[in-house]
Amino acid sequence: MGTISIISVEHSDRLFWLGRYTERFFTTLKALEKLYDSVIDKDQYGYREYLSAFGLSDVYNDYKEFFKSFIFDRSNESSAAYSLSRAYDNGIVLREEISTEALSFIQLALDDLDRAQNSNQGLRLALHPIEDTIFGFWGCVDDHVCDNETRYIIHCGKIIERLDIYLRLKYPFEIIDAEFGRLCRCLSGIPKNSPYHYNQKQLSSLVEIMGLKDGYTEQKDLAVSSLEALFEPTGRS
């Protein structure tokens, strides 16, 4: 009952976006938790910086309203809940590739999130089991998927998403650099004639920015756009 090693166009897309959305959900949740920790006693408008990192303006009355929307509101496209339902949409069509078991973790995370929203517990405590669930998801995917290319595509999506958020939120360089190294390893595993083969120009631009070390923050907008354009066709053949 192994997976099929021949990847269709449709599947490669779904795998990539499943990786991205699952990670966007997870990293968003993590970032929001960290932010929550700081707004409670440091700066109650600290969330505005988060908003501006994503080019959004403050339309919230207070941080509580902001967190409610960014964690639970599925109609807010920047929310964790929205990303999770997109992950579900991509996962549901990959059952035979990633396994029913792996898919069930996305369902569990959706349930956990619903439960957290209606819980009387403190927000962070209520969200806690969701992280375990996502770790369970990744464990299950890695355990089930034997084919390296399949694995590289989904991980590419995952790391690109992670880097995107880390760059925007100006995480320390060492953390970014480690993820960039991971990305390069994934990229080298994807065949040249696939839609997920990197564009050399964009990758070079990223390498250059990484060379600035801590100074990368000066070029973070360029880094984000290079990352976004990483799979653009290199040129007309």
């Binding site: 009952m1 192994g2 099929i4 021949i6 990847i7 269709s8 166009v9 449709e10 599947h11 490669s12 549901i92 069509v93 059952r95 035979e96 396994s99 029913t100 898919l103 069930s104 369902q107 569990l108 349930d111 065949p191 004639n193 696939s194 839609p195 997920y196």
Partner: protein, 440 residues
């Protein structure tokens, strides 16, 4: 059967597990797509070893005869020449596809996966209600329900010799392998918004077949291929399609179809791909042809039919029409053109005025209907709000034809949640049960 103990896990727990593993079916309500659960009842239908071996023989006999009928109809048509079935009933059927004349599918198998619907009468006799030879669905539900029930209530499986039904994927895969014309096996789905998408993806996962949609397939040199993401192609040798005939190939059938594969019929005609189930099967599971299945069994196999049809009348025949018109209020009338529990009318539900109208409709279009005696079928217990209540239930048995014809030792038992209803279809709000076959 007294020593059987039922699962101790409650209905809610197992339904929760089913939900977690994505056992849902999609429906459109007010133009919006929603995923619904297919309610599961934990009390299984239990079939004794003796009953099953009787059913098995009868089902194999029936499906073999139906496969021979399909071959005959699309080739020599001996059964018509020999006046066993009037030709009107064959060629007027919307399931008869003249485009399939002369095509011989691999191993002459037309119906690889047959879903035969039966009920058990109060007299203990089994009756066939209908044959589904096109794209019968539902096997995945008892399959995954068994897995989850064994997880939730392992104890009840330790004692009573319940035949493991989790070999369905194996049966399906060997049916696909046996007709594969070279290449991989694939399951063609219309997509995730199809009501049976869970089943398509779950069966793909279990059989190792690729789950595909039409936009990734193409026919070149009369062979069917799947595009790969590196610009290559993978040949498909057996296509288990979950799309109906008329949409399957826009160059042969409905030209407006956007879910089909152009020129698939040519690849199939050339013998380069097996289409599972074959094209044109609708002529054999037509409600009008149903009446003739026992005659087919005698004709092709020279055997007495083992399983009975429900007593059926064809208004097409003068004598039957007279009986139907006189006894309409106690009969069930089925429109041969409708599927899925639609177009089924119980005479007892009609007012005098409606009965009179219906009689006229039957006189005008006698070929359109069949009439059956209402079978008083055995109710099965279900749990509703913690109470055990009795409800109508049927059984869809799955028969797989490959190297040999085999009956899956399980089946989909569907029940009506409405106490007054005989209609057990899932599209009409019914639930399902597992079906346990005992090994001794």
């Amino acid at each position: 059967m007294e020593n059987i103990s039922f699962p101790s896990a409650n209905v809610k727990e197992i339904n929760e597990l089913l939900r977690r593993y994505g056992v849902k079916f999609g429906i459109y309500k007010n133009g919006e797509f929603k995923e619904q659960l297919f309610p599961f009842d934990t009390i299984p239908r239990v079939i004794s070893a003796d009953s099953f071996s009787y059913l098995e023989k009868g089902l194999i006999q029936r499906v073999d005869a139906l496969n021979m009928f399909l071959y005959d109809i699309y080739h020599e048509k001996k059964i018509i020449a020999d006046k066993i079935i009037p030709e009107e009933f064959v060629y007027i059927s919307s399931g008869y596809l003249p485009q399939c004349e002369g095509i011989t599918p691999p191993k002459k198998i037309y119906s690889h996966i047959s879903g035969i619907d039966l009920v058990e009468g109060k007299d203990g006799e089994w009756y066939i209600l209908e044959d589904n030879l096109r794209i019968p669905s539902g096997a995945s539900y008892p399959l995954i329900a068994r897995e989850l029930t064994r997880t939730a209530s392992p104890d009840c499986f330790s004692q009573s010799g319940i035949v493991d039904n989790r070999n369905y994927a194996e049966l399906l895969r060997s049916a696909m392998d046996s007709v594969n014309c070279g290449g991989i096996n694939a399951i063609l789905t219309p997509g995730r918004y199809n009501a049976a998408y869970f089943e398509h993806s779950y069966l793909a996962e279990l059989t190792g077949a690729a789950l595909v949609q039409n936009n990734e397939l193409f026919v070149e040199d009369n062979m069917l291929f799947q595009k790969t993401y590196t610009g290559g192609k993978t040949r498909i040798g057996a296509l288990y399609r979950r799309i109906s005939d008329e949409y399957l190939d826009p160059l042969t059938f409905n030209p407006c179809s956007v879910i089909g594969v152009p020129n698939l019929t040519e690849a199939y005609r050339a013998g380069n791909v097996a289409v599972i189930n074959a094209l044109g099967n609708g002529v054999a599971d037509d409600k009008g042809i149903y009446y003739f299945v026992p005659k087919m069994i005698k004709y092709y196999l020279n055997e007495e039919p083992i399983l009975k049809n429900a007593p059926t009348y064809l208004p097409f025949y003068e004598e039957d029409r007279k009986y139907v018109l006189e006894n309409l209020e106690k009969l069930v009338i089925k429109d041969v053109a409708e599927a899925g529990g639609y177009g089924v009318v119980f005479g007892s539900d009609l007012t005098a005025e409606k009965l009179a109208d219906f009689r006229q409709t039957i006189i005008n279009e006698p070929r359109r209907f069949i009439a059956q005696e209402v079978i008083d079928f055995k109710d099965l217990p279900i749990i509703e709000n913690g109470e055990q209540v009795m409800r109508k239930a049927d059984l869809r048995a799955f028969v797989l034809s490959g190297e040999k014809t085999r009956v899956w030792a399980s089946g989909l038992t569907r029940f009506s949640r409405n106490p007054d209803s005989f209609v057990v279809n899932s599209s009409q709000g019914g639930g399902f049960k597992d079906t346990w076959v005992l090994s001794r």
